[in-house]
Symmetry: D3
Subunit: 197 residues, 6 copies
């Protein structure tokens, strides 16, 4: 179970509204490689993970991604405060606004509702960790793209923090994969699935 602590893992203080940028960044809330997908990928995978230290890693990073999800939501929320209907229309925010006002809802930038098809939990230790390493690279790429679209330093500062964490997670999942491989038969990682066989 989780306890909520009333602070963000990294502070968010954005002064200039920018709904267009908010629409891009919301992809890291509900989009294919966003923080909600990341968190649920790791928190789901841990049940079948056969080694406790890797299970702990999945819980730790899955919990941190919840905190990142909260940071992304805070960015989007601050970028969409105090808008006029004119700003909403001029910046193409109307197709989000009509169904959610300025409430948060997990969607990709292209309008795709958050969907569990964007992540896998395969019940195989090697496979799940390889999936996780790919997931962190995909998230890192999305943050790269957001940085290229951002000219507000207050936003860029937070995005850089989030991007850096994805690189750290990628490395930690690589270490987890090494642990799993060491525990399995060294000549054929795929011979048996300790979660099932």
């Amino acid at each position: 179970m989780w306890t909520y602590e009333k602070r963000l893992q990294y502070p968010v203080r954005i002064l200039r509204p920018n709904p267009r940028l908010a629409k891009a960044i919301i992809s890291q809330f509900g989009g294919p490689d966003g923080e909600l997908s990341a968190s649920m990928r790791y928190l789901s995978q841990r049940y079948s993970m056969p080694y406790n230290e890797v299970k702990g890693l999945l819980t730790d990073i899955g919990t941190e991604e919840l905190a990142h999800m909260e940071i992304v939501c805070a960015i989007v929320h601050q970028l969409t405060k105090n808008l006029t209907p004119e700003q909403i229309k001029q910046q193409g925010f109307d197709d989000y606004y009509v169904d959610h006002t300025v409430g948060l809802w997990p969607t990709a930038a292209a309008g795709i509702p958050h969907n569990a098809l964007t992540y896998a939990s395969k019940g195989d230790a090697i496979t799940d960790l390889t999936e996780d390493m790919a997931a962190e690279q995909k998230a890192r790429t999305t943050y790269d793209n957001i940085l290229r679209l951002t000219d507000d330093p207050d936003v860029a500062d937070v995005i850089k923090f989030l991007r850096q964490r994805e690189i750290v997670h990628h490395q930690r999942f690589g270490e987890g994969l090494r642990i799993v491989q060491d525990k399995l038969d060294s000549r054929n990682f795929y011979l048996t699935n300790p979660e099932f066989d």
Copy 2:
């Protein structure tokens, strides 16, 4: 942000495997009225909620639903341990097994991947709380149905706990709605949206 505490909110100790029942119960992980939808509904809505006490309520219940999600996953995990391929086929678990082995992945019983379309975050305090009251009734009904399908008292005991919490949440959202209505113009709750106007 959240801190993980390594215990379940309510203990789960199931001794008899039952993949067929697991397939029904997994709906409360990833299904339309499951705990993941519940948690993300409330944690998303809080950004635009204009009143701090109700915002706190959304955070509290959203965080508790994460704990419920973990309980549901633990039930499904324990119901699907140590299965033989024959048991998997006889109980119709093969269509889940083929893509996830016995890993957890958020889906409805009918095979629908978890999807954000199952919940709303409308950026309107009255609407969001009415949505939340309905959500708790829908979850309560699903737990009612699970109880009718369950003859394992170890499972039923946990499901009854979860069902009871939904009724409590329903009441608390009702109180939240009363708070919001008291703060708005008493003759026309819908005249203005304090989150936007």
Copy 3:
């Protein structure tokens, strides 16, 4: 069964094309809280509703929502008449136009195809009516948002009519819920499900 009467429940006469506004309003055709979802929610729920007067209410309102769906389609159709390719591109209508020309197709403003996940039919009288009360609030909020985006009085006039009907439906479903609660055990509404037990 239904008989078609060749007139709209409320007249629609819009003179100025506005494809951008049409894209927002089409959400009330195929979007999460639109008239098609509303109609199918109520017309589906009536089969398991155990009380005839509430079943009649569901049929009546479900039928009226079909008429509202037709009004919304008429608005979108009139807003997209006689467009030039230049207008289509300048107003961001091209992503709809390319796949549907100016034909009507039920989608949310954000491009999400109409999906039954946006409504529930739970086979439980109390739950279904609570869902319906929430649905009417969600539709009311969407009309509020459309009104803020609209500066054409011919459009606003019709939207105000539709919005007002949602408030009336909300009240009628509240009365339906009262009827159901009176018929069930007054101390525990959730003890039995007359549709199943």
Copy 4:
């Protein structure tokens, strides 16, 4: 707008519960070629149809498909009455039951929620009518398949009525296509789109 008449277009009186068969037949409510898709396909297409007699045809058949949807729902409802939990489990109805009890909800037999991607409204008279002719054949095939799965004559009788109507509709859309082709340039049906050019 539509007026509801409290009778089915064709009577449904089924005495033997059969939830397994209900799960197959529900595809003609919410599945890819079901009556809801059919109705919304035709009722959507009529807005851009340039010729009044064909527009009338779309309205007529679209309205009749609503009546067929009601018939399909009545079949499913009667096939799932008075079930015991044991019957539900033995016949594999539990994955539907858990989320909907015995309420009706538009889904395909395979569990896919009703989705507008299953039909097209292209804003082109020839294309829409060709789509409609294909749609009727697809529905006819599904009824053929249901008949092969049915050994209850009370069910088969209604399905045969519905199947026969699809064949009639196929022919009427063929006549509609002929009307459209006669009105367009006889040497090149695709030269201009009277709905747009």
Copy 5:
């Protein structure tokens, strides 16, 4: 099995970037009536097609649609080369860019991920061919719409080629349907399904 030949079926040489137009054209990659849907529709249907000459037709056209898919991808790729972040934002390409940079991914213009619900494979020879004739008309209409949005002759030239092929395919499927009808009972095409009965 297939052998790749390193050339396009029709040359694509586009000099002016135009991400807005790319977003419309990508619908013919992953959209409802795009080349991927077309190819998979025909390549899927051939397994149950009872007549070898028609099976060969499905394989031939299904294979050609793969080549068309490649052409559409080449158009989109060339239209999105060497963009600056400013161009991306000004032309509304940011909601695609954030999740895919300028990589290709099969989506509709409106942001809907490629989905098999957009095509049918019904296991009935007459039905499948009628579906295919409709599919070609739908693709033809989409190309018509793209042409109206295009003022770059290098793009229009390729789109005209693709559009013309759809008309040819429509005719060939019409011939296939005639072959099937001739082989079935001439008085009632729908009496038996040679694939199953």
Copy 6:
């Protein structure tokens, strides 16, 4: 473009019908880690891949996955030949059969229609290749699961061939990733994106 060669990459000769097993195996046609997703993942990614030898690798493996898709379809087709309605019902094939007879259509075992959300094309060479390595592990796991469900040696023989190819592809994508890393700045692979910067 592709040329079709009328033979399977690996022969399929299955004598005993087994629709239940067919429902599991069809996941490798249209499911989350199936051959269609694999093929479209690689064929999409090649457009933005900056290095020709890796682009060639993507084309080669993407083309081979089309051949694997064809093999999987052949298995499913042969496993579902000459079924009686009784066999269809007893083995739980009715929910597929009702909408597709015994035609092939790309779906996951759990009923989820093929969806592009199951794969990524991110326009970043390192990320795409990491995604591809994960994809091959996921497909390998699914084949492992199919093998555990299979007691027909004619089926197992083909599945083992397909499984082995995934392992080879995993290795080849690993080599591709090494090539890309060697071409990028050796101290920071993520500093620039040669496809965009």
